[in-house]
């Protein structure tokens, strides 16, 4: 029996054709890749008939063939490369010349995934593909089959607290639309405390696709802040899937900033597997024109005494469209669960649309769960107040948008990352350059 779609799309065909065996890789990975490719072939790319993709039409992505990306040109400099320990990728491939491995404490590993497969194969094998399951997710399947490189970050028990590692993914599109599938594996030992940022930036030009998958394993009592700064070029397609699992008393704070891309899907799939664990999911998305932004979160409370708090905020202008789907599943026996979900939207135009879909599935009886949301416009009274003091209308609008968005920037813990997020967010707002300057 086959679930294969009747006609494979050009995207699917081209991606399957791009598959190549990688000599030298461990046999277990070669097997996993072949299996994932098979799953990708039978699943096909999602359509709006799929419940989890109901509001996000991928036909633009599906309808064209994608090639493997080229090497990409240069130079890449300045603000693109943050201070401190960093791994830098161009078109999905590690560029050691742009990275900085300095400042990592003993026992901490931050290296390219291809290199890790050679040097720490057993540690990678223990986790890769365990949380990001290719069985029912076409993009995870495609990523597992096709990733060329990515990052392996291992934090030894007790690492931190002032440890911050940046993973920078640069895209330099070539003549033909190209797809990169970076893969990140982050393993935090017991009690480790660190922040890991993934920054996605691209150059203008032809369309390109980033299909990123990140797996985060939190040991007992680990405290991890994961910051996703998606500031792709405006013609890009971006699908990012973050899968996490926390042991007892571990805490994950996941930020998803969606600032660029013609179409962007950001997924957080987290499982609270040990008592006393917590997930805080923060999202901020900005869209205008005909851009599409989709935030999908799925948190499973498998055990008692865990907490989820989700706050997603969006600003939509023009004909843009955003989707927020947040599912929280409280398994039988997961008593004393505390879960809350909030989605607030600022709609700046009559034609902007947001579809927000909270889903609480509760199979325990002693829990506190709730959700809320708002959809509003810019406060006209505040706008007039600012203008009456001399602030130009465009700048006043930018200021009010910043006031709405800044809460999410303020939640980023490490100061350098917060500053980076502030700069990237403000740059997408009206009179943003002036805002950034004034805030400096």
């Amino acid at each position: 029996m086959s679930a294969r779609a009747a006609t494979p799309t050009p995207a699917q065909e081209s991606l399957v054709a791009a598959f190549a065996a990688r000599p030298g890789e461990p046999a277990w990975l070669a097997d996993a890749r072949r299996e994932s490719l098979g799953r990708f072939e039978s699943l096909g790319l999602p359509t709006t008939r799929h419940e989890d993709w109901r509001f996000t039409d991928l036909s633009g992505l599906s309808g064209q063939p994608w090639v493997r990306p080229g090497e990409g040109g240069g130079p890449w400099t300045g603000a693109l490369l943050p201070e401190g320990p960093r791994l830098v990728f161009v078109n999905g491939r590690l560029r050691p010349d742009l990275g900085d491995a300095g400042g990592l404490p003993a026992g901490t590993i931050a290296t390219g995934l291809a290199e890790a497969l050679a040097r720490h194969p057993e540690e990678v094998r223990a986790h890769l593909g365990r949380l990001a399951r290719a069985e029912d997710h076409p993009f995870v399947a495609a990523n597992t089959a096709l990733f060329e490189d990515g990052a392996f970050v291992r934090l030894p028990p007790g690492a931190g607290p002032d440890l911050s590692i940046a993973l920078v993914f640069l895209s330099d599109p070539g003549a033909a639309p190209a797809a990169a599938f970076p893969r990140v594996l982050l393993v935090a030992g017991a009690g480790a405390r660190a922040s890991v940022a993934e920054v996605f930036v691209g150059r203008g030009g032809p369309a390109y696709l980033t299909g990123a998958v990140t797996e985060i394993v939190l040991g007992e009592g680990a405290v991890v802040e994961h910051v996703r700064l998606q500031a792709e070029a405006l013609q890009a397609y971006h699908v990012g899937v973050v899968c996490a699992e926390s042991a007892a008393r571990a805490s994950l704070t996941a930020h998803a900033f969606t600032l660029g891309g013609a179409l962007s899907r950001s997924e957080l799939r987290a499982r609270l597997a040990g008592e006393g664990g917590s997930v805080a999911a923060n999202g901020l998305y900005l869209a205008d024109g005909t851009r599409r932004v989709d935030n999908f979160s799925w948190v499973e409370h498998a055990v008692p005494h865990c907490t989820t708090s989700e706050t997603y905020k969006g600003i939509l202008d023009g004909h843009s469209r955003a989707v927020f789907a947040g599912r929280i599943v409280v398994k039988p026996g997961a008593q004393k669960t505390n879960a809350y979900q909030m989605n607030s939207n600022l709609l700046l135009s009559e034609d902007a649309v947001v579809d927000t879909k909270p889903q609480l599935e509760i199979f325990a009886d002693d829990v506190k769960c709730g959700h809320g949301g708002t959809v509003g416009q810019l406060d006209e009274a505040a706008l007039f107040y600012l203008r009456s003091r001399g602030v130009r209308e465009e700048e006043a609008r930018g200021l009010l948008m910043w006031a709405f968005a800044s809460e999410m920037v303020g939640r980023v813990g490490p100061a350098p990352l917060r500053a980076r997020a502030r700069q990237l967010v403000a740059a997408r707002l009206p009179s943003g350059a002036r805002l950034v300057e004034a805030m400096a």
């Binding site: 007039f384 107040y385 009456s388 130009r392 209308e393 809460e407």
Partner: protein, 272 residues
């Protein structure tokens, strides 16, 4: 002191009519204000005082249907609110707006620098601005801690009004329209606000006080008092007019000139 009726009036309003939605609120307002003068507009609730203030500052919900407003030789009604501010018009709000997430001083520096840019002046950097702001905050006893809080968020009524006068002090307008700057203030707060406004009286600056009560005028002595009713100025006079109103209330206004009526005489010399 001049009544502002001369050729060099800073503000000249003639035959001004305006509506909010379907309701005509201003039904032919005339007013003239010279540099250095302080005028008060008094009147019962609903007489159009705040609408007049809003129209002068460019409030988008107030639609002007007839009349002219000439400010410093230019057509004020043709300017955006921000251009009016750059030209030196300041509106002190009856209900200052809370703007969570925007720092009070950050906002004010943005405003001041926008105004300075428009005037072709250099922008103030953060250090110079802070020094200026601290000095001006003293004028209304505003705690410097208010600088880093969000604009008006969680401020008491008195703090909001002091913040308005502080902003006026920083922006140095040529024409300040203070809409019920006294409402919601206890006597101590009123004294502080009035002291601040009085300190800002200057030969080249005109102030238009909009108020319901005479109380404010005991602290800020106006040169002229205008009584507004039914969307018009129905009487103008010297400061003694406020005393008369204190004795008689607004009842005579309502009796003489019912809301919405087009009849009625105009006493005094406000309308040229």
């Amino acid at each position: 002191m001049s009544t502002g009726n001369g050729r060099d009036a800073l503000l000249r309003v003639e035959g001004l009519r305006a509506r909010i939605g379907e309701n005509e609120i201003l039904k032919g307002v005339g007013l003239s204000l010279g540099p250095g003068e302080v005028h008060a507009i008094m009147g019962p609730n609903g007489s159009g005082k705040s609408t007049l203030a809003g129209v002068l500052a460019g409030r988008p919900s107030c639609e002007v249907t007839a009349g002219t407003v000439v400010y410093a030789g230019q057509d004020l009604l043709a300017l955006t609110p921000e251009a009016r501010a750059a030209a030196g018009v300041f509106l002190g709000f009856q209900y200052p707006v809370e703007i969570p997430g925007v720092g009070n001083l950050f906002f004010l520096r943005t405003a001041l620098n926008a105004v300075r840019r428009t005037r072709g002046e250099d922008e103030l950097d953060a250090m110079d601005f802070l020094a200026l702001a601290k000095e001006k905050m003293k004028l209304v006893d505003l705690d410097p801690a208010f600088g880093s809080r969000s604009v008006n968020e969680g401020f008491s009524g008195g703090e909001k009004k002091r913040n308005e006068v502080f902003q006026m002090a920083v922006l140095e307008p040529r024409l300040a329209i203070l809409d019920e700057i006294d409402s919601g203030l206890d006597i101590d707060a009123l004294r502080v606000v009035a002291r601040g406004v009085n300190a800002l009286r200057r030969e080249d600056r005109a102030i238009l006080l909009v108020t319901h009560y005479k109380r404010l005028l005991e602290y800020i002595r106006p040169d002229r008092v205008h009584v507004m009713a039914g969307g018009r100025i129905v009487r103008s006079g010297g400061p003694e007019l406020a005393d008369e109103l204190e004795k008689t209330g607004y009842a005579w206004v309502a009796g003489e000139k019912p809301e919405g009526s087009t009849a009625g005489s105009t006493r005094g010399g406000a309308t040229p």
